[in-house]
Subunit: 178 residues, 2 copies
DNA sequence: TATTGTTATACTCTATAACTATA
DNA sequence: TATAGTTATAGAGTATAACAATA
């Protein structure tokens, strides 16, 4: 069985396929590759890039916050004061990157470090009042963009998409604990 | 109506929600935000990061190719010789980045530039025979990882996920032509 | 010995914009 | 004037690894 048929099966409606995917089919249809899996990966990347670009332009442009600095503020807003290793995992950055971002945010008075009394290797980070005000002033516009993007899909598609992504993320992250 | 109920509606099964999303619900359930949209965005980013990390480690680690260099080879493999502006869009990088990546790949003999005779502003890039061999030797392992990740989901979930992502990408990219 | 956070290095990619050569 | 690609600059993130302090 050719993978072309397999791919087509996933396609549902050919109008949904971009030019790139059509070229892929023409080029690779009998190379023994898993085209549906390719389509899954490449669409995850394309969606992520397009969404991040839009969020950065529309919601972060005038805030003087990098994508990562924003994520760190957000994590602290959601979770409250936490140890830096936790924040690094949650914001999905390396600990080296986190040190730098926290340095910057601390210099601007948005977060504060606190060394633990009981285990003095540990450092926790928390939003200051100014940091809380900042994230609370930025987040509504950020979320409005998220909503506008989600609304590009029918509710049933949104539903299915989130469910699939959650399962994928769950499987990937407990496979590779990092 | 609280957004908590709205969020829960999307959740389907609470075991699917990671700890982060549960904390979000607890923290933000009545802030007037669109939590399902937030869940969509954040799961796209988390999936993309986890997948890229795995592909880089498992398939690109020993190849001496950066993520972007790999994408450029892939684009040229799929499309054949193309003008650099086309390659930049397709590989989703800026033209400045592309110049650098093509410089590197050309120095290694994997691609070749060709200036057009009819419009001498234009430069096309194509794989050399060595470049073709390289991408053909790397891609099977890359695709095997893509398949392994896709197989973490049931076929119906894969199907729904790809369909949703395609539609999202299509809407986002014809909204913002770049 | 192991762990936490910090520091250091070298690399990749980005955004932005100026520059060249062509059209 | 506009366009295609190149070059330049500064910034942000990465992987990797060494390091100091602490456990």
């Amino acid at each position: 069985m050719g993978s072309l048929a397999e791919f087509d099966d996933l396609a549902v409606q050919s109008e949904d396929l971009g030019a790139q995917e059509q070229a892929v089919m023409a080029r690779l249809s009998d190379a023994g590759l898993d085209l549906p899996a390719m389509a899954l990966a490449s669409n995850v990347f394309r969606a992520a890039t397009a969404m991040r670009r839009r969020l950065e332009q529309a919601a972060l442009r005038d805030t003087d916050l990098s994508w990562t600095a924003f994520k760190v503020l957000w994590v602290l807003w959601i979770w409250g004061e936490r140890e830096t290793r936790f924040v690094a995992v949650e914001a999905d950055v390396t600990k080296g990157t986190l040190t730098g971002v926290v340095d910057t945010l601390e210099r601007r008075g948005m977060v504060a470090r606190r060394r633990h009394a009981d285990d003095r290797r540990l450092v926790s980070v928390a939003l200051t009042d100014d940091g809380t005000s900042l994230i609370e002033s930025i987040f509504p516009a950020f979320n409005a963009q998220e909503r506008a993007m989600a609304d590009l899909l029918h509710p049933a598609d949104q539903h299915a998409l989130v469910r699939g992504l959650r399962r994928l993320v769950a499987s990937l992250t407990d496979e590779e604990p990092r």
